[in-house]
Amino acid sequence: MKRMFVAMLAGAVFMGSVIAPLPAAAQGDEAAAPAEPIKIGALFAVTGPASFLGAPEAKTVEMLVEQINARGGVLGRPIEVVLKDTAGSPQKAVSFTKQLIEEEQVLAIIGPSTSGETMQIKPVCEEQKMILVSCAAAEVIVNPVASYVFKTPQKDSQAVAWIYNTMKDLGISRIGVVSGNTGFGQAGKKQLEDLAAEHEIEIAISEVYDKGATDLTDILTKVQAADVQAIVNWSIVPAQSIIAKNMRQLGMDIPLFQSHGFGNIKYVEQAGAAAEGTLFPCGRLLVADVLPDDHPQKAVLTSYKNDYEDRYDEEVSTFGGHAYDALMIVVQGVENAGTADREAVRDAIEGLQGFVGTGGIFSFSPEDHNGLGLDAFEMLTVKHGRFAVYTK
């Protein structure tokens, strides 16, 4: 009895101390105090299984915030990013979203990193009228459109269209699809299957493997037996590198197409010589150096690339680019609206046209909350261990 009482007391004291009046962090009300920071929430999977997405995203945002504030901020006010590490866990995403909305009262939320988390918080943001600019790729995030939810990565369906068009040029009509069992992989698989018929591509075999698989030779054996002319792999690391290596080891010399998740030179390094000739659609960030000087994206891409690589001593990846786009879109929305009122900013974002980002040039509309078209992609390949634009 006494033990139980003590337990209760301990628990209550603890909880009370957490809940009771802590000196309130800035209430975030956009009252007209000058230089009151504009708060933006960020949910990234900095640690955990999706950390290859969240870590560069968090670093990018950190870097951008410093740059923006050094320039004088937005509308004369500094911006403050409240970053929460969800570790890829949807329950944390839900919990942190509610915290960001009610406790921190942020203007907008950028992220999360994965589609699964985004879909779980989409209803919450829509109901609470919170702007969400997601860095996750799934089409369902913006289709059907929810008025407060946007996303920055390019459309999977357009990546697939690029792949299929290239295949037609190469005379390929019978393919095998292998995909990872993540949300990204499955979304890609669905697009591949949906768009196959209209591009006259036959998917002879489609297999799903575990994202943590260490060896994919058994799946490739099955694919080999189906006698295909090319393989499309839609997955995240490390499978992207493993599949390339396994293909070479099995003596398969048919072309390998990867998704736009291949956007990091590290994956090429890990696959070594096996990555030569891999084809994948991607944003132009990775080939910023070879873009013609008059390309509209060149300035943004090269400055982001150089700043990031100088600051963090690691190569840029397209994932960080999604976070760059998300934050800058919100910033641009605030500047266009001339105020940090959420409704006005939302309208401003929806009305953005020709916004130059790393993923492409964004033009939003009430029906299109992604804003990117086919021209956001470039078909890339790997030549001598570096990324290069693919030419026939």
Partner: protein
């Protein structure tokens, strides 16, 4: 026909990875009765350390260095943690090693980072391939199988013909009698953890070129290694190898007849089935190892 052989080779490749973990599991369990869920982390640490060292020193030195460092970690873990535990209930041990694996994994995340890394192939490159009767495998597979084989042989010799090995066997079959014979049980336990750490690290190095090394690879490996150990019969390091290979083959062949998405579920279903029919494992003896209650 060469298809079947290819599947078999795939299964053996993956199974040997599980075997490496299972050996370490069994070793510790047999001598100390502890189920070390942190075994997978030894494998991860071995690979990570070797990759870091390989930036400065030649590959063999890096591997040897990694093995040494992780072995020391294993011993340190025993000295710092397990020696002091007052409670020896099975459940507490399981929970502690689980907690340990979590801490080690997170520490690895902060020491290195989330990126995937790998050692260079010991012989050949990413593209090299060896043909056997129409099936093809990477030369690295020979390294893995060879290492596992050498380890098994060495352990056999160690246990049968060296004094220390015999002391370890004595500790596992009857700790009191061993103490009475003058064997220092505490040192034997530390040695067991050290050895297990070394073996895990060696495994981690040798699979790194193929399977890649990432800070969170340990958990999945621990589960599969545990399954392999149980299938073979807990406490028997050699049987663990057989268990590992069997699990790998089961997974690989299941891909040939059903969607690969259910590959892991199949492996566990087979394992569960085996457990329910023959709980002491394929090579285990009835009652002796498994009757320990919470």
């Amino acid at each position: 026909m060469h298809q079947l052989l290819q599947y078999a080779l795939s299964g053996v490749t993956v199974g040997s990875i599980y075997a490496v973990v299972a050996i370490g599991f069994n070793l510790i369990y047999r001598t100390t009765g502890i189920l070390n869920f942190a075994q997978g982390e030894f494998v991860m640490l071995g690979g990570m350390t070797a990759v870091s060292l390989a930036a400065f020193v030649p590959l063999p030195v890096a591997v040897a260095g990694a093995v040494g460092i992780v072995a020391v970690c294993g011993g340190a873990m025993e000295i710092l943690l397990f020696r002091r535990l007052r409670s020896h209930s099975l459940l507490h041990m399981i929970v502690i090693t689980i907690g340990l694996s979590i801490v080690v994994r997170e520490a690895a995340l902060h020491v290195w980072d989330e990126k995937v890394r790998s050692l260079p192939y010991f012989t050949g490159t990413e593209c090299s391939s060896v043909r056997i009767l129409g099936a093809a495998i990477s030369p690295q597979v020979f390294w893995v199988l060879g290492t596992v084989g050498v380890v098994v042989l060495a352990l056999h010799v160690f246990f049968r013909h060296t004094l220390t090995g015999k002391a370890m066997r004595a500790c596992s079959s009857n700790p009191e009698a061993a103490m009475l014979s003058g064997i220092n049980i505490r040192n034997v336990r530390t040695l067991t953890f050290t050895l297990s750490g070394a073996l895990g690290a060696l495994g981690g190095c040798v699979i790194s070129p193929m399977a890649m090394t990432q800070y969170n690879m340990g958990t999945g490996l621990a589960i599969k290694g545990f399954a392999a150990a149980i299938l073979g019969g807990l406490g028997n390091p050699m049987a663990g190898v057989a268990g590992g290979i069997l699990v790998g083959l089961a997974e690989s062949f299941s891909v040939s007849i059903m969607p690969a998405a259910y590959k892991d579920a199949t492996a566990f279903a087979i394992l569960l089935g085996a457990l329910l029919v023959r709980p002491h494992g394929l090579f285990g003896s009835n009652g002796a190892e498994g009757a320990r209650e919470l």
